[in-house]
Subunit: 408 residues, 2 copies
């Protein structure tokens, strides 16, 4: 590929690795345990900002407030986040609360309100206990640190088991530029944003319009290609902030190093998306579905998403059962052009279907493969050049346990 | 309503209750236990026939053969079914096998081949052991009985726990006419036909064109409104056969008793559809989603299907958790017109959301309600007159267990 050579992963990198960013987290009392439930990322200067938001009609209050902030001048200097309560379907009071949170952090940091964004994740339909939240926001500026990326990551988790963060560096105009990200899952995860929050930071000098375009493109092939359970949340968003403090000159699609920046940016998104899928509620493994040879890229995406979203495929992967019939059934119901005579299917390197004909394969070796931490499913439609990759996880007893009593 | 008065349920009725039908089943060796795995419904005369078939691109071989049969003169005199093997994705050999099955039963019954239909359910991608199947078909005519509806019902089951059959009677032109049905689920169940086989019989005298129209209409609001796991199978079909032996004169939409016939026909479909949903793999309860006040009937259907298909809603019902946030999140992601300020949600008679505002409700009473065998979810969008009902079941540990190792 050569893509990997365009950027380098920074060991132990986080959202504060790019120049100009601090972050932090604390426990304000939204979670029943003492885990962090309030956090922020703050930039030394107004950062060029871009965002993508859930397509769910019931968009949560904080998303509206964040979009209002970004709309003013395309910049954000701070992102505030709470976990444990989504502030969704909370009506006028919910919007007032989101605005209050924005105003309080802006005041604490000495910023204009429109430079602050707000986001929330957790239970839908309950009002925020604003006493606790406001007390937390008051303390938050004192918790911000240049190495606070880890604390921030903890503050955004709900049912996630592991923190999700990454930083890569790229060479832009002779300078080292960083692109970093943090994200949370891990239920209500589905294409067109999951219950998923993503925070990308970079010290590149880029206008918000170019950043928005890049975010849209990379989201389509990363965050929008994962599913845990097919449910699109009310609160999903990915926010990107660019401080411009890394040097290397103004970055835009005409810059000779743009491909490196775009590759690094996409890698951060893909890494976080895969982490979210792997850490899906109850998951024991990551499933990657590669569709090639489709009629179009759109068809490939739809088919990949349908296969990765199939409860039957997900259950079979959990049970290490090489039941490829469920894969082809999912391909067939995706509503896309399919030549029913030309489909190949592989599980890892084990061919199970060629030209739509079952292949005799070693069931034991297939079961052994499916027991692994990563299951790669390849579907070749042998029709055209459309290709896409989607990520998800297996469906387990633990998923049911978690979701049978999420609130209790 | 008044609809119920148009027809009467026949106690212990089955597909052989309408005049002219016999049925039966036997064990030929496709299932590992001694459970029946081969069955047939046979009519004394060529019956007017209608069918609806899966929309999955990988339609199984027997469905093609059945459609060919019906295409000849719109009639069927026998339907052959096997369980334990779907004969899907089996290529040319699979089609040859389905044709052989048809030819063998036709010969055994002394019928023209085009009066015989074939259908299969079970594992995808394995060739039928035709030795066993042929030996079974040879014995099948001797097993057909006027009270063989129960045996037939057993022969079509796979992971189903209970037999699904019903018969209603209606008064047509002064004569008693019967409409009966048998069906099987219970995984890979989703709108636009489930892994689901339905067999409807009637002794009404009706042309196949009118029967087809009625079957299409009633399927849209019955079999196509259920989901267990969102997976549309390769083998789904519903076949209706009308012997015409019940008297009462030629039945068509202009007949004064047509509304009674249509109501009875729809009731048979709805009853079987609900039975399939209730008996979904691992299910502990039936969930009914009623959407009213939608922008259109199409919007209501899409929203009802999205709610009933949500893994999170299904898990919450299993856990008796009144987590209505998941319901509204599903409403919001259905891709249909929604006024986010006017939505009401009830669980049974417990109001949890009014005009999109959370209502304080008795959590204990709600949990008690959700623990029941039937959970009714009402969503009123307060926008228009579109309404629809969808049925499904809860998502349980048992669903995962069954599907983690279906083939083993």
């Amino acid at each position: 590929m050569g893509m990997k050579e365009l950027f380098t992963v920074v060991p132990d990198g986080s959202v504060t690795s790019p120049k100009g960013f601090r972050a932090g987290g604390l426990h304000c009392g939204l979670k029943k345990t003492t885990r962090f439930d309030l956090g922020a990322i703050v930039c030394d200067v107004p950062a060029a900002a871009a965002g993508v938001y859930t397509l769910n009609a019931f968009q949560a209050a904080p998303l509206k407030v964040t979009q209002e902030s970004v709309a003013v001048e395309g910049k954000l200097q701070a992102m505030l986040v709470n976990s444990g309560n989504a502030n969704a379907c909370t009506g006028k009071q919910g919007e007032d609360d989101a605005r209050t949170m924005r105003a309080e952090l802006a005041k604490g940091l000495g910023l204009a309100e429109h430079l602050v964004g707000v986001t929330s994740t957790g239970v839908i339909g309950e009002l925020l206990p604003m006493g606790k939240v406001s007390a937390g926001i008051e303390q938050l500026p004192g918790q911000l640190k240049a190495d606070g990326g880890d604390d921030f990551c903890q503050a955004i988790l709900t049912t996630d088991l592991v923190k999700k963060m990454i930083c890569v560096r790229v060479n832009i105009g002779g300078e080292t530029i960083h692109i970093a990200g943090a994200a949370k899952g891990s239920g209500m995860i589905h294409p067109n944003m999951a219950t998923m929050l993503g925070f990308l930071t970079t010290d590149a000098d880029i206008d918000s319009a170019d950043l928005q375009k890049l975010l849209n493109e990379s989201t389509d092939s990363t965050f929008n290609m994962i599913t845990v359970d097919g449910d699109t949340s009310t609160n999903d968003m990915v926010i990107a902030m660019a401080s411009g403090l890394g040097g290397g000159g103004k970055l835009n699609p005409q810059h000779p190093d743009w491909p490196a920046f775009a590759a690094g940016f996409r890698h951060v998104g893909e890494y976080l998306a895969k982490m979210i899928a792997r850490d899906g509620e109850g998951a024991t493994k990551l499933i990657e579905v590669n569709v090639v040879g489709a009629d179009s890229e759109a068809a490939a995406r739809a088919i990949a998403k349908t296969v990765i979203g199939s409860s039957l495929v997900k259950s079979a992967c959990f049970g290490a059962d090489a039941n490829w019939g469920r894969i082809i059934a999912a391909v067939g119901r995706a509503g896309q052009p399919v030549n029913t005579e030309t489909v190949d299917i592989r599980l890892g390197d084990i061919s199970v279907l060629e030209q739509s004909r079952p292949v005799k394969f070693d069931e034991e070796r297939a079961a052994e493969y499916l027991k692994g931490e990563l299951v790669e499913i390849y579907v070749n439609l042998n029709m055209g050049n459309g290709r896409a990759t989607a990520w998800g996880c297996d469906l387990t007893y633990e998923y049911v346990r978690i979701n049978a009593a999420y609130r209790t």
